[in-house]
């Protein structure tokens, strides 16, 4: 069997469309996930037990259910239970954002808790309120420590968008299976998809490494 990569060049426009969809969902779910992560992470850190507990429940719920199940459930079951009609785009966006948000929340919580208690003491002693302490003293230090795990989780997020193809969102993987369905050349096409992911994500990994080094030095 020999590889025939002409199927790639012939279907480049479809792959390009898929690529844009993948990037689009990666970016918007990371942004939404960060907002969710910030809120849920901070909720988990509040002295209010009930709130903290709710944050904990959220995290454990989305962290321990396979993403594929969440995705299918959001798209097929949510409309039945809630009686609302949800497009596949919205279902994908909601499921992926909530899922990655749970992981970001944990990264935030761990980052904040890794800051020495002496920092809170010192900030409290000069009369800072809880929000001043968080904003000025704790979070700036925690964010630096959070860069490597945030980068790691975001890279995983880009790869997780491939699951969108299951609910027929036309991302890169969906286009790949579509192209192979009429060209009968799955090997070439999936190889190409793999290469695209490597080419996009490797520079991002290297960038995260550089940020990690910088963060380490300044502390």
């Amino acid at each position: 069997m020999s590889f025939d990569f002409s199927v790639i060049t012939q279907n480049a426009p479809l792959l390009w469309q898929g690529f844009l969809i993948t990037v689009y969902y990666t970016v918007i779910t990371i942004v939404a996930g960060m907002i969710i992560g910030l809120v849920v992470g901070l909720i988990q850190l509040t002295p209010y037990r009930l709130l903290a507990w709710l944050g904990r429940v959220y995290v454990e719920f989305f962290r321990n259910i396979p993403l594929l199940v969440i995705l299918l459930w959001t798209y097929y079951a949510l409309p039945i239970f809630m009686g609302l009609n949800i497009t596949k785009g919205w279902a994908g966006f909601v499921a992926l954002s909530c899922y990655v948000g749970a992981f970001y929340a944990e990264i935030l919580r761990a980052g904040v808790q890794s800051i020495e208690p002496g920092q809170t003491d010192a900030a409290t002693a000069i009369g800072m309120s809880y929000s001043q302490r968080m904003r000025r003293i704790i979070l700036p230090q925690a964010f630096r420590r959070m860069v490597p795990p945030l980068a790691g989780q975001s890279i995983i997020q880009m790869k997780n968008t491939t699951l969108l193809s299951i609910i027929t969102v036309p991302d890169l993987l969906y286009q790949a299976s579509y192209i192979s369905s009429f060209t009968y050349r799955p090997m070439e096409i999936y190889t190409a998809i793999g290469i695209i992911y490597v080419v996009v994500l490797t520079p991002l990994t290297l960038l995260a490494r550089r940020l990690e080094k910088r963060g380490g030095l300044s502390l």
């Binding site: 020495e116 010192a122 409290t124 800072m128 309120s129 809880y130 230090q141």
Partner: protein, 274 residues
């Protein structure tokens, strides 16, 4: 150093605190007058650090009354009923009347020395940045750190960091300064510079409560020495009475151990004098 008849800056009454099942403070009364330097001594576990942290409510006592510069900040009776019910804003405001210096310095590592010093005035007191910087520079100069304003804590020695921490606390214009074993984490050769800065501060009339293991320094700086044992004030008086003529057996043993250490150094001191 002592100012007769001056006003009370700090009043603690019947402070109780337990951690889990273990009582660490069992009814402490302590009054500090303006300009007075009170040194708290005691074996580790005697409750002296807990007491200091109760003053600005970094540790919340279980019961007792605390008044700082005439304003009650804490008043909880036996059984836990809070008679004040102060909103957190008020607690933060009154708490800022105390300045605290920690054993581990606890400088903010992401800010310069000057940034550390102006953080409280700018963020908490809302003072104009330029004015805060001017005052911050003065305080750092006073601490002998004029050349280190724009360095980060990681670039400073322990002694320098601790002096930045003192400047940071002073920047809030506190009514009383609280020192929690400020030299315990320092290399021996750096202890002197911090003690010197504290002595200068005491001589300038600052009201201070100091937890320390340096009994020689306590003797030098204190107007009053308070000895804590198992969460109770066992002795409270002039340094020469408490440290040189200890009466309570636990205090005698504690001071005795200090003399033993001093004795071990004697051959070294004598050799140096020869």
């Amino acid at each position: 150093m002592k100012r007769e008849g001056s006003e009370t800056v700090l009043a603690l009454e019947g402070i109780h605190k337990r951690f889990g099942d273990r009582p660490v403070l069992r009814g402490i009364d302590l009054t500090v007058k303006a300009g007075e330097v009170v040194v708290l001594i005691g074996a580790s576990g005697s409750g002296k650090t807990s007491l200091l942290r109760c003053i600005n409510l970094l540790n919340i006592p279980d019961q007792g009354r605390i008044t700082i510069a005439g304003e009650p900040i804490f008043d909880v009776e036996e059984g836990g009923r809070d008679r004040l019910k102060l909103p957190p804003r008020q607690v933060n405001r009154i708490r800022a009347k105390t300045g605290m210096v920690f054993q581990q310095f606890n400088l903010f590592p992401h800010m310069t020395a000057l940034g550390n010093v102006i953080e409280g005035p700018v963020i908490v007191q809302g003072i104009d940045r330029a004015a805060a910087e001017k005052r911050g520079c003065e305080l750092l100069d006073q601490m002998g750190l004029a050349d280190h304003r724009h360095k980060h804590p990681a670039q400073l020695s322990g002694g320098q960091q601790q002096r930045v921490a003192i400047a940071r606390a002073l920047a809030m214009n506190p009514a009383v300064m609280l020192f929690d074993e400020p030299t315990s984490a320092l290399d021996p050769e750096l202890v002197g510079e911090v003690l010197k800065a504290m002595l200068a501060l005491a001589r300038s009339g600052m009201t201070m409560v100091v937890v320390t293991h340096e009994l020689g320094f306590a003797f030098e700086i204190a107007d009053r020495v308070v000895f804590l044992d198992e969460g109770i004030v066992v002795a409270d008086g002039a340094p020469k009475d408490v440290l040189l003529k200890p009466e309570h057996p636990r205090l005698k043993a504690f001071v005795g151990r200090f003399h033993e250490t001093a004795d071990m150094l004697r051959p070294f001191l004598e050799a140096a004098q020869r």
